[in-house]
Symmetry: C2
Subunit: 284 residues, 2 copies
């Protein structure tokens, strides 16, 4: 039995299926206390059999480096009770022979969009999600990037848009990408949540500004062939088109990869990218 | 016979040695016309034998993706006569059985510093060079990053230092990292070349500002365990220390990797990093 677990900040998904991303059955429930959240997943899986492999897509920061002593543990997070909790231990206790592959939720979603979604067949893909935070999964040369920890794309520092004096909402950096452009930042800046702002609202030019600069940093460091932007905030205001347009202006003809339109695209797998990606992790 | 070729904008190095980086013999000469530059390398090698493998470290932009139809060719570059020139064809003509591994000069230098230099034994290393331009080689998860082309780190767009109204020298982007902080930018901004500016000159605070923001982008995308900064400009003004200090302030406790001091360091292999890295490419 091939299983997958997607641990999100607010909801958890547990599923069985195939390592090509085929989803046979899934169960969604709210993420609560860490031990209880894992207990529910294990109970649901046990009723269905004994998994030989589990792919996990987890919110971060989480130690995904398999050679690290604290592999599988949540790193310091503002989410109460999760810091230091091992995601992998309860699963290994319940299923001693199981093979676990652990990734960030965005890396898993990136893998799914690159294999069967909006960037199908490409080896260099970035998946950005904009919601209560901003994060990115990075597939580069056909492999999901980790590095010293894993990408923390939301915390890149970018040039301010002319005249923009918004302080930003990030408790660590104020005006980093996340601080300037995540859902709560949009609501605080404009006094309305993103989904209430009409497509012609100036908010979307501001949003595109920070995203385009962020993507330019990606092009300069781990150049993607296509960028998928998902998450609740991304669904409004022709954001993908606006971002791509501005990106091409900023690039000044310099990054050939970005000229293959469409370059900045919405996801194709929607809510299923994370759990499908987690299934695929069992075959990586 | 194991051989290596380092093609720089102004000088070329051809060598024989071992794939662990051991240099047995080398020959340095000015880079001129592309065909003539390659001819000299081939002549020097032929006098010594028939190489079974050649590692090439080339200035860019250059197509290093082996599956691309134009593998081995120089991409549009302001350097006269090099655009479209195939570096690999003359070598394959002279030595039909040779196995060629082609990388950017900075990726090769990064590999050498990560294996036997200032970041020995680390799997996540960035090597930045500051000279007439700014470039970076990126080793992430033990592999040299390519992506859609290869990193073009110098062209990342960063927040301006308060009060800095220098227009930048990059013909494509004006005030990108390279436009604000490369050797010619320093000279244009302060009216003196970098090597004449004393360590206490304000130029070095400005330089550290742009470098620290650039390294923060690296931490957010392909997080390195250590950053090596080399190139002529980097030798002055306690630049590594200043950059590391500012980086820690900017990071605001968020990027644990950057807290392992020393984090921003000078190279250990100096002028030999590129050619030693090119030798190592034959074993990758």
């Amino acid at each position: 039995m091939i299983a997958a677990l997607e641990l999100g900040g607010t909801k958890t998904v547990v599923a069985i299926g195939k390592s090509d991303g085929t989803l046979n059955e899934e169960h969604r429930y709210p993420t609560t206390d860490p031990a209880e959240t894992l207990r529910q997943a294990i109970e649901w899986l046990t009723e269905r059999g004994t998994p030989e492999a589990i792919g996990i897509a987890a919110f971060g920061p989480v130690q995904i480096n398999q050679t690290a002593g604290n592999w599988g543990k949540m790193l310091p997070t503002p989410k109460p009770r999760w810091t230091g909790f091992s995601i992998t231990s309860p699963l290994l206790e319940a299923f001693p022979k199981v093979r676990i592959t652990l990734e960030t939720d965005v890396n898993a979603a990136c893998l799914a969009e690159a294999r069967i979604g909006a960037a199908e067949g490409l080896d260099n893909v970035v998946y950005i999600t904009i919601g209560t935070g901003i994060g990115a999964g990075v597939l580069c040369d056909g492999r999901l990037l980790h590095g010293a920890l894993h990408p923390e794309f939301g915390h890149v520092l970018l040039p301010r848009k002319a005249g923009d004096d918004f302080a930003g909402t990030c408790p660590f950096h104020g005006g980093c990408l996340e601080g300037m452009a995540c859902g709560p930042a949009i609501e605080k800046r404009w006094g309305q949540p993103a989904h209430e702002l009409p497509p012609e609202h100036a908010a979307w030019d501001t949003e595109a500004w920070y995203l385009a600069h962020g993507i330019l940093a990606l092009l300069a460091i781990a150049p993607p062939e296509r960028v998928v932007i998902g998450g609740g905030v991304s669904q409004a205001g022709r954001l993908h088109e606006k971002t791509e347009q501005l990106l091409l202006e900023l690039a000044g003809g310099y990054f050939p990869a970005a000229m293959n339109s469409p370059y900045v695209v919405p996801p194709m797998l929607g809510q299923l990218a994370g759990i499908k990606g987690a299934l695929m992790l069992t075959g990586v």
